[in-house]
């Protein structure tokens, strides 16, 4: 073993479906615990203790669902594209499965963001839907998810389906900034992003701290649901191997 190891060992271990199944099995309860605690705690904090907005009153509280869902919808696409790149470059089967499992979760987050946005828009802007830049780009993101899911289900061969969706999600990721800016120049009504990495949020801390807790909770929820789907997918794709048969015969 004279060659230099530039990739940590766990990266290769994750490439083995069996290892991945075991590691995610160990991580799952912890993520579930954090997700449960922060979602329950964050919701209680947001609904009961955070101050009401001086203009929008209590209707602004939907932000605690809307913003985390929107952030997750975008992060899930990034995760999908990274998994797609790993699947194409290193030919890792597990990355395929991550891509396939992340798509429906991301799509449902996009739906949640759109639905909460519509419910929020009715009292604030006076209509369920406006053709505003950020709404439209979220809708387009949802369409991109649907495309990946449709392609994945249309191709019968599992590995071909996974590679094709990997290419599509990479093409989508190149397009996302272009779509975002083109739509933004086209029309803008929505308020700017709540969290920016470079600036302090414009709202007071009592309002944004519970939001941050909710975002963390949503990320953990996403991780839990991704791992559960991934484990399911691993067992299904590896159903003919010895270790899965052994695992199933034990249950």
């Amino acid at each position: 073993m004279a060659e230099k190891k530039w990739m940590p060992r766990w990266f290769y271990q994750l490439a083995s479906p069996r290892w991945c199944y075991q590691i995610t099995g160990k991580l799952l309860p912890w993520f579930a615990l954090v997700a449960g605690l922060s979602l329950i705690g964050g919701t209680l904090w947001a609904l009961m203790f955070a101050p009401a907005d001086y203009q929008q009153g209590n209707s602004f509280r939907i932000i605690y669902l809307h913003v985390p869902a929107a952030i997750l919808a975008q992060s899930a696409y990034m995760l999908m594209a990274v998994a797609g790149a790993i699947a194409l470059i290193w030919k890792m089967k597990v990355a395929d499965m991550v891509l396939k499992s992340a798509a429906p979760i991301g799509a449902s987050m996009a739906v949640l963001a759109l639905a909460t946005g519509a419910i929020w828009g009715k009292p604030t802007w006076g209509s369920w839907w406006v053709w505003d830049a950020r709404l439209t780009s979220m809708l387009i993101l949802f369409f991109l998810y649907l495309g990946v899911m449709a392609l994945n289900s249309a191709i019968e061969n599992e590995s071909t389906a996974a590679q094709a969706s990997a290419v599509l999600s990479l093409v989508g990721v190149v397009n996302i900034p272009i779509i975002k800016y083109s739509v933004e120049w086209w029309n803008t009504l929505h308020q700017p992003a709540t969290f920016k990495l470079t600036e302090k949020p414009a709202m007071p801390a009592e309002m944004w701290v519970p939001l941050l807790v909710m975002v963390v909770g949503f990320y953990c929820l996403f991780a839990v649901s991704l791992m559960m789907r991934l484990r399911n997918e691993i067992v299904w794709r590896e159903r003919r191997t010895g270790w899965v048969r052994e695992l199933l015969s034990k249950q």
Binding site: F143, G147, L151, I155, S159, T160, V167, V171, S182, W186
Partner: protein
């Protein structure tokens, strides 16, 4: 030294030779199947006819609608023609030969798509003024319409070819292509129809055309890579 320059020279010649040979083959094939050539154009005309019937025949209203309608119709017509791009090659086995050949797939794919564009997208561009007249687009908007279509339709073809390559092995690729590709067409649609709007209202349209050109440059550089990868994946099963 001379050996080296010779080999470089011959390589370059063979690349451009490859490009033109592929183009020539595409032209021959498409002129022998004239229906594939004409159908997208008829579709383009028919979609534009539906709007006055469905919305209102009133000239003032239609002229407001015209930039968007012509652009959407052109986009749909391009999309409709994409399914045929690789399908016949796939069915008669020549696609497999192309993938097996030692020549770079990038050049072959680029030549195929550009040849396909020149019989669909270019034809749509040349036909667009007719639709503009039908929809009462003001005469000031015509140069903007033609220029924006000229710069925009190659991007549509290149991006559509990615969808065509991903679905070539599937029996019912047609609907799936539109699902995959339509969201990716949105920036081109926005900048294209904005360019026409700007031309109609007398605003400078250089910025929109520059953006369309940038999108085209990006697509020319990256799309053939994605198309070749997608073709290899589609043929592997």
């Amino acid at each position: 030294m001379t050996m080296q320059t010779n080999s470089v020279e011959s390589q370059r010649q063979s690349l451009s030779g490859l490009f033109w040979a592929t183009c020539r083959r595409e032209y021959l094939l498409s002129f022998r199947r004239k229906s594939d050539l004409v159908n997208p154009l008829i579709f383009f005309l028919m979609v534009a006819t539906l709007f006055p019937l469905g919305v209102s025949p009133e000239p003032g209203f239609l002229s407001q609608l015209a930039p968007g309608v012509v652009w959407v119709a052109a986009l749909l017509a391009t999309l409709l023609s994409m399914d045929a791009l690789f399908r016949s090659d796939y069915e008669d086995g020549s696609l497999e030969q192309l993938l097996l050949s030692p020549q770079p797939l990038f050049v072959v794919v680029l030549a195929k798509v550009l040849a396909h564009w020149s019989v669909t997208g270019l034809a749509l561009t040349l036909m667009a003024p007719l639709l503009g007249v039908m929809l009462f687009l003001p005469a000031d908007g015509m140069p903007g319409l033609m220029l924006s279509l000229l710069l925009g339709t190659p991007t549509l073809s290149l991006v559509g070819a990615i969808g065509a390559a991903l679905t070539v092995g599937l029996r019912k690729g047609g609907v799936l292509i539109s699902l995959l590709v339509l969201p990716l067409y949105i920036p081109v649609l926005i900048f294209g129809s904005s360019a026409v709007q700007a031309a109609v209202t007398g605003l400078p349209l250089g910025g929109y055309l520059a953006l369309l050109g940038a999108l085209l440059a990006l697509a020319l550089g990256l799309a053939p890579l994605a198309i070749s990868a997608a073709l290899r994946i589609s043929m592997s099963s």
